[in-house]
């Protein structure tokens, strides 16, 4: 995180020394773009805050630990699709679930949909891509995530 700030700051400084006007223009563009999308971000945050309340870590663990592997894969991809969780929360959680005996393919479905499919980020996505293309992208991402889960299951010997 701090690296990102350091690098951005450095680039900004270099840009400023090379051309003051252009840099000011760049910052204006940044503000304009940020302002334009920020209401959608607030909407998304409201959605996330409610969904995470309804689905705390404990509930997610219970769902992913259900008796049938295939039911778990579907539940995992569903939960992964509707929640938003940064990697620094999702992977430790998955690591713990792994030690509790949750199959790799279930965790794969969970983490991959978490990364690729975004129901809560959909409001933002549709602002840039349009509704139709955003829907197509999310559905194809879900199918890719399920393929990844199945391949993971095969290679780890959890299916056969």
């Amino acid at each position: 995180m701090y690296y990102t700030y350091a690098i951005t700051g450095l680039i900004l400084l270099i840009s400023f020394f090379i051309n003051k006007q252009k840099t000011i223009k760049a910052i204006k563009i940044s503000f304009r773009k940020f302002k334009k999308i920020s209401p959608t971000f607030i909407n998304m945050l409201i959605l996330v805050s409610i969904i995470l309340f309804l689905l705390p870590d404990k509930v997610i663990s219970d769902y992913l630990n259900s008796s049938s592997k295939f039911v778990s894969v579907f539940l995992a991809s569903f939960i992964g699709s509707i929640t938003l969780m940064p990697g620094f929360v999702a992977f430790p959680l998955s690591g713990i679930l792994l030690t509790k005996g949750v199959p790799y393919m279930v965790l794969s479905a969970f983490t991959t949909t978490l990364m690729m499919v975004g129901i809560v980020t959909f409001p933002i996505e549709k602002e840039y891509l349009g509704i139709k293309v955003a829907v197509i992208r999310n559905i194809s991402s879900l199918l890719i995530a399920l393929t990844v889960a199945i391949m993971t299951g095969i290679i780890f010997g959890e299916i056969f």
């Binding site: 999308i37 805050s49 409610i50 309340f53 990364m115 840039y128 293309v133 197509i136 393929t147 993971t152």
Partner: protein, 173 residues
């Protein structure tokens, strides 16, 4: 206009609910407020950098450069470039959409744009290393080797399909 009124009413209701929850000591409301604030902080850490870089990109990078390397004539190296770019930029999907839009405006072709969005979701380098440390290298490798080719293939199909239909990306409405 009407849409804005509904949006403001909705946000005010939400804020009112949180405030009342705090006054009455209603726990679910407090938890939701906590979730909201922690995610707000998380996003405020990422977004300013991302948008400043987007601004600088818009001013400094010439359209010809993007057209040449990521445009219609770019070929397979364009995909390699854009995956490399996606892998090194933090922030995931949220940041990927505005960046993808800037790339598009500078002349990158659609299949490359969709590859960029997909790759930003699945192969950021810091996240991948973090994942491997919790889940094992085998798990991470399977995920990458299966998903990345599928992302590229679907992006090419989607890109070609939309190009034929004269699809345009528009920012906001």
């Amino acid at each position: 206009m009407k849409r804005n009124v509904i949006r403001i009413a909705y946000i005010l209701t939400y804020i009112l609910f949180l405030v009342v929850s705090f006054i009455l000591g209603y726990n679910p409301g407090k938890e939701i407020a906590f979730n909201f604030i922690s995610f707000l902080i998380y996003m405020l850490k990422i977004l300013p950098c991302a948008f400043i870089l987007i601004g600088l990109f818009e001013v400094w990078v010439k359209k010809e450069v993007i057209e040449k390397h990521l445009g219609e004539e770019s070929g397979i190296r364009g995909y390699a470039w854009v995956i490399l770019l996606a892998g090194t930029i933090a922030g995931g999907l949220l940041v990927a959409f505005p960046i993808a839009y800037s790339l598009y405006n500078k002349g990158a072709k659609l299949s490359i744009i969709f590859t960029y969005i997909g790759a930003a979701a699945i192969c950021r380098v810091p996240m991948t290393l973090y994942e491997a440390s919790f889940m094992g290298i085998k798990f991470t490798l399977i995920r990458l080797l299966v998903s990345l080719p599928l992302v590229i293939i679907t992006s090419i199909f989607l890109g070609n399909y939309l190009t034929k239909r004269n699809y345009r990306m528009v920012e906001g409405k």
